[in-house]
Symmetry: D2
Subunit: 286 residues, 4 copies
Amino acid sequence: MKKFGFIGLGIMGNAMALNLVKAGLDVTVWNRNSDKCAELVALGAHQGKSPKQVAETCDITFTIVSDPVAALAICNGPDGVLAGIGEGRSYIDMSTVDHVTSQTISAAIIKAGGRFLEAPISGTKKPAEDGTLIILAAGDKSLYDDALPAFEIMGKMSPYLGEIGQGAKMKLVVNMIMGGMLSIFSEGMSLGLKANLDGQQLLDIIDAGAMANPMFKIKGTMLLDENYTTSFPLKHMQKDMRLAVDLGDKLNLTLPTAAITNESFKQARKAGYADEDIAAIYKTVK
Amino acid sequence: MKKFGFIGLGIMGNAMALNLVKAGLDVTVWNRNSDKCAELVALGAHQGKSPKQVAETCDITFTIVSDPVAALAICNGPDGVLAGIGEGRSYIDMSTVDHVTSQTISAAIIKAGGRFLEAPISGTKKPAEDGTLIILAAGDKSLYDDALPAFEIMGKMSPYLGEIGQGAKMKLVVNMIMGGMLSIFSEGMSLGLKANLDGQQLLDIIDAGAMANPMFKIKGTMLLDENYTTSFPLKHMQKDMRLAVDLGDKLNLTLPTAAITNESFKQARKAGYADEDIAAIYKTVK
Amino acid sequence: MKKFGFIGLGIMGNAMALNLVKAGLDVTVWNRNSDKCAELVALGAHQGKSPKQVAETCDITFTIVSDPVAALAICNGPDGVLAGIGEGRSYIDMSTVDHVTSQTISAAIIKAGGRFLEAPISGTKKPAEDGTLIILAAGDKSLYDDALPAFEIMGKMSPYLGEIGQGAKMKLVVNMIMGGMLSIFSEGMSLGLKANLDGQQLLDIIDAGAMANPMFKIKGTMLLDENYTTSFPLKHMQKDMRLAVDLGDKLNLTLPTAAITNESFKQARKAGYADEDIAAIYKTVK
Amino acid sequence: MKKFGFIGLGIMGNAMALNLVKAGLDVTVWNRNSDKCAELVALGAHQGKSPKQVAETCDITFTIVSDPVAALAICNGPDGVLAGIGEGRSYIDMSTVDHVTSQTISAAIIKAGGRFLEAPISGTKKPAEDGTLIILAAGDKSLYDDALPAFEIMGKMSPYLGEIGQGAKMKLVVNMIMGGMLSIFSEGMSLGLKANLDGQQLLDIIDAGAMANPMFKIKGTMLLDENYTTSFPLKHMQKDMRLAVDLGDKLNLTLPTAAITNESFKQARKAGYADEDIAAIYKTVK
């Protein structure tokens, strides 16, 4: 039986590891604060001593941490994954990091004789618990094939996207579309309300037609309630809009709607809504 | 039993009238080219002699024609609806017309003693056949209540939106959001393809997440196939974008994403895609 | 000697008529508040009794009033110019009015047997006093030729622009460029100041190069002083931006920079700066 | 008498060095292709053997080369300026380079005991010949004071802008305003011509008013002649627009007009006009 490692037991990681354990896989977990391991160990997981030891003793080690700095620390730090990796062992980083960080980690792991995949995820707490995440995998194809059974436990969809970097790019494109949708949606809601239309009727009509989508339903209710509880921080979306526009620049594409949506998110950031939910873009329009 | 009139048996009108007849209502139909009445009459409809005669003999007369000019002609022309309307008889115009046309017809019908509703629809041929249209009704509330059973046969949703003009405004807001969504979606598809992502994978990933909506599915496949068969002509969408931006101007709202989307549709129109489907906006971005 | 009429002695009109009188022309003046005529009469002008009487007794009558409503009243009102015009007499409206107003007045004057020119001006109080206005004349070419000596007294430049409406369009194009220049200038000043550059140095550097222009000098100082004393009200500029974008729509042109500048002026209007100077656009950027 | 070095005798450098020599200064020149030194030596300049030897033997050495790569090579290459610099000797780089390149060179020179100024210039061949450049100096203030007499020979204006990096930022802000002016000007010219206004009249009217500036005169004639002979390559302007928008992002500013102007220049670049003059932006609008 294959041995899996799982590093990083935050809200997302904990739910994902739990699904692996419940599915009967052999899982060794590690977290900076080891208290978080208790529940998983009680359900049958092994407790790792360090990222190094996890990588050393498992066939495939997953990591999901909060940002590029943390991802680099888990890999390169003292007792890090890199120190434990080698021929026959594999590493899959599911954190959302930029292109350069991903390539840095990939190169180091491969040089040490291991295999590597980047696999950022799309989805929040609920899909993590339900095992319905979207996993954007890119890098070593043979590792992808080996990891697929585990991906299928954690997610409902885990396409193989090609060489390292394509996972990050896919996420950028998807987020750019999300940002643009939210911007025109906010403008439409503002226009409707100013024109004395009923906000709930407007939401219901959209929800009954070809544009119906879960995001408008959720964010639409937030707008009407003036509730901007953060699920996706606005400043992160603005950063993604900027990166997407810059990618278009490099690829010789004009992206006017994305460029102006970026300005709208910047305006919201400037107005002090950086840490509120992306839905707070509405406040600069209404 | 209430008598209903139905004027205008184009693709939409024919399907809608058919549903009324099949539901067992007493329906009198009229069309400029009377050949189109045959099928309905065979199923039990009466054949009207003129818009005037239909309005005169029915309690509630529906009309759906192609544009404001046709709508005005059906109402005001010789043997028009106006000549047949009066106390106790009602008129419901389901054509998509501008605010001013709608108010002109409304004022004339009311002056002649009748009741009036504007009820533009959202939806295409298939929902018309299936009786799943979205009907955006506004005007006389008592007429709305009387017409509701017929609306419920033709549509899956027919909210009452308030005074005359609110139906047209709701449609404008909905179309503005649709145009903006299509613009950012086209930019995202272009960016993805230029970045060597697989188009179908991108569509699948969007379709699996919070942004999943029928329009992206349909238009996305059209973009990948470079198929711009017209279902909603691009020039009409551009006109709606312009009207929405102008409405924002009147209501003291800034709508930067809508304004720049309008420019993108104008660019597509200028490039010669006015009569192609709205999806042809993609051709100016890719 | 040719007889000239001059109606409307506001800040602009008074200075313009004064130049005509000082140049030795035979001028009959009229103003709604007749007190304003005194100075001119003391210098040799005749005092008219009504717009009708001025038009009746003069070869060429000029009018400059504040808006379309006033321009229509002077022409069509009781004792208006139209009542006095006829074969051999001519009317030149120098007010800034829209296309439709201009054509309405033109048609009425021509129908009454007179000749007509629209001649909106570009320039403010100082150029009016100095006789250095820019006069944008369009309409009857023979009248233009007859009026040229008077134009040359009032302005430094008075090109003939073609048929009625071309004067208004020229002014729209010029103002659209002005609005766009001011928008990018405001953004540049904001960026410079935020980047810790010295505002006055930035102005001096621009003023020393190929972009040097009087407007940046004047408005630049206003921005640094946070002084928005109205010389050209922001709401009028925003209206012109909107009209220019709409003209582009009719002529099948995309004008993205103008469209987004329009949104910036709308934002300033929404923020409460409608009646401040156009320079107040800066306040929404900084 | 102070000894000056001058490295880089391209179109700009040659004209600038010539002015220093003609003014009677002691100048040692060096160029990769030494043929270019002949004229200057004939007029009294000394011929240097290498950048190292120039820096070693002169009090203040100026360099102006084409891009960051060349600027780094002159400084750090074998026999480069850095090898010759030291206590009591100074280096002034007048090339247009980015922030990072400038700081790299600055740090190296200072570490070696020398003084450093960045001094990018604004202006083209003619002002270089006429000694009317605008010199944007930033860095060591005492060196600025020492170099001022030479700056005043080469330029008409050479403000001291503060610490290293401020010269590059000033140039970015100035170019961003230039790009935006050109974009709205192109849109205005297109709108005017489509509206059947005379292009030359439009230029004349602008040139007579508050917006009159040398750039519109020169570029306006180019547009009417459809002549896009490169004086400032469009791709460089687009790069500056992007950098300016990114700087705004860092400084928490929204720059919608700049962002959309950037998209217009990108569109022109995508259409194949990257190496034509910045005026070619007009071709994507008309």
